[in-house]
Amino acid sequence: MTRRSGQVPFGEVERVLFRTYVNCQIAIAHPRELYEELDLTQEQLAIVAGCSLATMERWMSQNNEPRMLKEVYLRRLGEFRFLLRHYREIPAEAWDRLCPLPPRDRAILFPDQS
């Protein structure tokens, strides 16, 4: 397959990142893990997961898992838990590229730097 103009080669570094990403274990096993760790509502869980409140309530109260996209929801919840636990370790440059923080939010997250 010929490479299109401007494409970076899919080299050894990219292959390692690809393998790491697709096998990443950041997902949690059940939304209850996050619910027990943090005082948030089921509505907030649903917003993070990207499902409806009804789907999240069914999942939480009846252990009735969503048949569609469950792994996507669990990965999103896992990403949020990672953020909660490790946001202090994320360099300012990464914040600026990924989700730039308004000064007020930056002061709350990193009070010792303001």
């Binding site: 690809f18 697709v22 096998n23 409806s52 009804a54 069914r58 569609m68 792994e71």
Partner: protein, 140 residues
Amino acid sequence: MNSDASASQPSLGDRNSNPSAFLSDEGVGLLFGQNASVVVIPPDFAAAQLPKYSIGSRCRLAPQTHSEWGTIIGQIYAPVFKDLGKSRQKADWWSWIYLVLLDADSPSRGWIIADWVDEEDLELLPAGQDLSASDESEAL
């Protein structure tokens, strides 16, 4: 003891011939979960039941603390796994899942437009509660 976690992974050179060689045994499983690798079409699939709700049906998600409501815009026939053990070789059964476009006043519409719902978790909206749909169509 080999502590290199990547030792069991296929060679990076395999990527062009088989990209999925990098995946774990369960696969990514984004659509049907981690049992995706054992989903097979059953022999009697053609005789499977028809969907209970048609496209355009006005439905309510089975009442929870907060109900949701909207219009069916998609149907898929999907496997059901009651035991999520890795030894499963086939689905326990198949049933319908519906994509429901949430009404503007449904609680979750603030962050999603539509959601997937099992047939058993849906019920038809009583005709008297169907006002928001006609209001929306008039507004268009």
